[in-house]
Amino acid sequence: MIEIELALTNQAGLHARPAAQFVQTAAQFKSKVRISAGPKTADAKSILAVMGLGLSTGTTFLLTVDGEDEQACSEALQRLVESKFGEGP
């Protein structure tokens, strides 16, 4: 199981398109992926759950990945968040 803390620095936070990108990326892997922020936890393969967290820019969340491809999965998600979802510098 891998746990990493990530900060949202893109302008929109985990809204709409970034949320969809995040969920699509997570869905490519077999591992269980969860996001926790404060008391709330969401299945990262569910766009409803992810949008329901209402994470805005500047917040940090804990990413938990558990499964056979956890290394590749956590790296892909980390890249996505750190590249600001391809928003550009």
């Binding site: 929109a12 299945d43 409803l48």
Partner: protein, 573 residues
């Protein structure tokens, strides 16, 4: 017996067809639905879900191909939500407990919708409508109501509000008219209806609940009149109107090549209002001379980040080039709390039309304004371009904006980028304050453009989206006519030109008044250009002055409109 309803004509034209009520469809079908065993229901649900996802996917592809990017993005978001495993799990659980599949789908989507609509974030709040739409789509497939049957047309669709997914699926030519209960002017459905030229009347309220499928209906999108079971004489009258309308349209396309010039030689420039570069296709076809209002806010909508300088430059450059040497006026972003953008983080307001919007945001967030100015200045290399500020109420705003314009030029110079140094700088006259202060504001700018939609709304204190007061809304109200006359005089006496870019500019009845007041330019939606041009070409300035003098003696908006209507009918006869 003919029954008559009255609403607000939001898309002009005349439509005759058979009524199709959209709201009751699904409710009836769900009641009639015969449920099987939980295992049957589960497999039906799985199939319906796959069919729904495929349907949404097809709509997204079609929208993308038609260049309707906003709609494509809505459909992509619907697809992601429909494919959500958590939603499917919730529905399956209900089915396992013995709930029929359609009810399980509607209940589960409603649960999520309720969660979203309770959120503070305005963007997430709106997702509630998406969830309900998705739920109804799956339920429609399950109950065999399938997609809406558009056969047996021409149809007049009727609903309180039509879901964007349904509006997007309307086949061209099958829908002859749309009746809406709500008073909204800017819903997705109305935007789609405008693009397809489907006559639409909104604000009909609860009257719609009394209507039934299959009734013959006549929709007059010009006047907002709706006739249920029209009698023979009414049908004949409208068929004549329809025939002459089509004849008129044919004449109009011949007009596209000619300029708008009165019989005695006064010329008025007729420009187009556009929201995105693709709108230039129709604008050029209708014979526009340049763009009098490029609503740049459309570049900012339906996305998660502000458009970059490069993106804006590409859009502005395309339009400037297609203006072929005529002026292209770009209005800086006109956005407020009524159309919240997630990346602007503007808190919800009690009264967004009197709130933090347009130039007020631009001056507080200069990074947005500078980016926009730089993109416009660069586009100016490819043809004449002008900058126009919305919602101005005092000269200080113009002075401040000009300071940012100079800063944008300095930054471009330092970068070595090519840009236009001579750019006309003007303002919208759309607040009573700006209209009254016109003599002062004229000292600070190169031109005015009168934005009548807001000017009328603010002057008369009437929200025309509110069907309880919308009949009070009229650009022929004597107060409005008098303000417009004063603005034009003030501008001309200080040597600057004046245009108009609100809906009044495209109203053929207003053309004689505005010609008499010597307006220099009229900018309107493309379909309005030919008729306005035809009216201008048939009168003389002295005819126009006579009618203006007559109208100034009438102190009632409706009396003024009727007098102008007679005058224009005579011209067009």
């Amino acid at each position: 017996m003919t029954r008559q309803l009255e609403g607000l004509g939001v898309v002009p034209g005349i439509g005759l067809g058979f009524l199709k009520v959209l709201t009751t469809d699904l409710t009836h079908a769900v009641h009639r639905y015969a449920a099987g065993s939980p295992a049957d229901e589960a497999s039906k649900f799985t199939n319906a879900l796959l069919a729904a996802i495929e349907e949404i996917h097809q709509l997204a592809v079609q929208a993308q191909a038609a260049g309707q990017n906003d709609l494509a993005e809505i459909m992509e978001a619907h697809k992601a939500i429909a494919a959500d495993p958590e939603l499917a799990a919730n529905i399956s659980e209900k089915i396992a407990q013995g709930v029929a599949a359609p009810q399980a789908v509607l209940a589960a989507t409603e649960e999520y919708a309720a969660v979203f609509s309770a959120m503070d974030d305005p963007y997430l709040k709106e997702r509630a409508a998406d969830l309900r739409d998705i739920g109804r789509r799956i339920a429609r497939i399950l109950t065999g109501a399938g997609a809406i049957d558009f056969g047996g047309g021409p149809l007049i669709l009727c609903a309180d509000e039509i879901e964007p997914s349904v509006a997007a699926a309307m086949p061209a030519g099958q829908v002859a008219g749309i009746l809406l209960g709500q008073g909204s002017q800017t819903s997705h459905t109305i935007i789609i209806a405008k693009a397809q030229g489907i006559p639409t009347v909104s604000g009909l309220g609860t009257e719609l609940e009394t209507l039934a499928d299959g009734q013959q209906v006549l929709v007059d999108g010009y006047s907002g009149q709706v006739y249920i079971n029209p009698d023979q004489s009414l049908l004949e009258a409208y068929q004549n109107k329809l025939a002459s309308e089509q004849e008129q349209l044919k004449q109009n396309s011949l007009l596209a090549e000619l300029s708008a010039i009165t019989k005695d030689g006064q010329r008025i420039q007729l420009a187009a209002n556009i929201g995105r570069p693709a709108d230039m296709d129709n604008a050029l076809k209708q014979g526009c001379e340049g763009v009098g209002l490029f609503r740049s806010e459309f570049l900012y909508m339906g996305r998660d980040t502000a458009p970059s300088e490069e993106e804006q430059f590409a859009a502005y450059r395309e339009v400037v080039e297609r203006c072929k040497g005529a002026l292209c006026i770009i209005r800086t972003m006109d956005i407020g709390g009524d159309k919240p953008l997630p990346y602007l983080n503007i808190p919800a307001e009690e009264n967004p039309f009197l709130g933090f919007r347009a130039i007020r945001i631009s001056l507080q967030r200069p990074e947005l304004l500078l980016t926009q100015f730089k993109a416009i200045l660069r586009a100016g290399v490819y043809g004449p371009v002008a900058i126009m500020l919305p919602m101005v109420i005092n000269g200080q705003e113009i002075v401040q904006a000009r300071k940012y314009l100079r800063q944008a030029m300095t930054e471009l110079e330092q970068r070595g980028a090519a840009f236009a140094r001579q750019v006309q700088f003007g303002i919208m006259i759309e607040t009573p304050a700006a209209a009254v202060l016109a003599p002062v504001l004229a000292e600070e700018c190169d031109f005015f453009s009168i934005g009548t939609n807001d000017l009328v709304q603010y002057t008369l204190a009437v929200d025309r989206g509110n069907s309880a007061v919308s009949p009070l809304y009229s650009h022929f109200h004597p107060a409005v006519v008098s303000l417009i006359g004063n603005v034009i005089q003030a501008a001309h006496s200080r040597g600057i030109w004046v245009g108009m870019c609100g809906e009044m500019a495209g109203d053929p009845l207003a053309a004689p008044l505005l010609t008499a007041m010597e307006i220099d330019e009229l900018s309107m939606s493309a379909p309005a250009i030919p008729r306005v041009k035809g009216v201008i070409r048939k009168m003389t300035v002295s005819d126009a002055r006579n009618i203006l003098a007559e109208v100034c003696a009438l102190h009632d908006a409706e009396a003024i409109r009727l007098r102008l209507s007679d005058f224009v009918q005579e011209l067009e006869a």
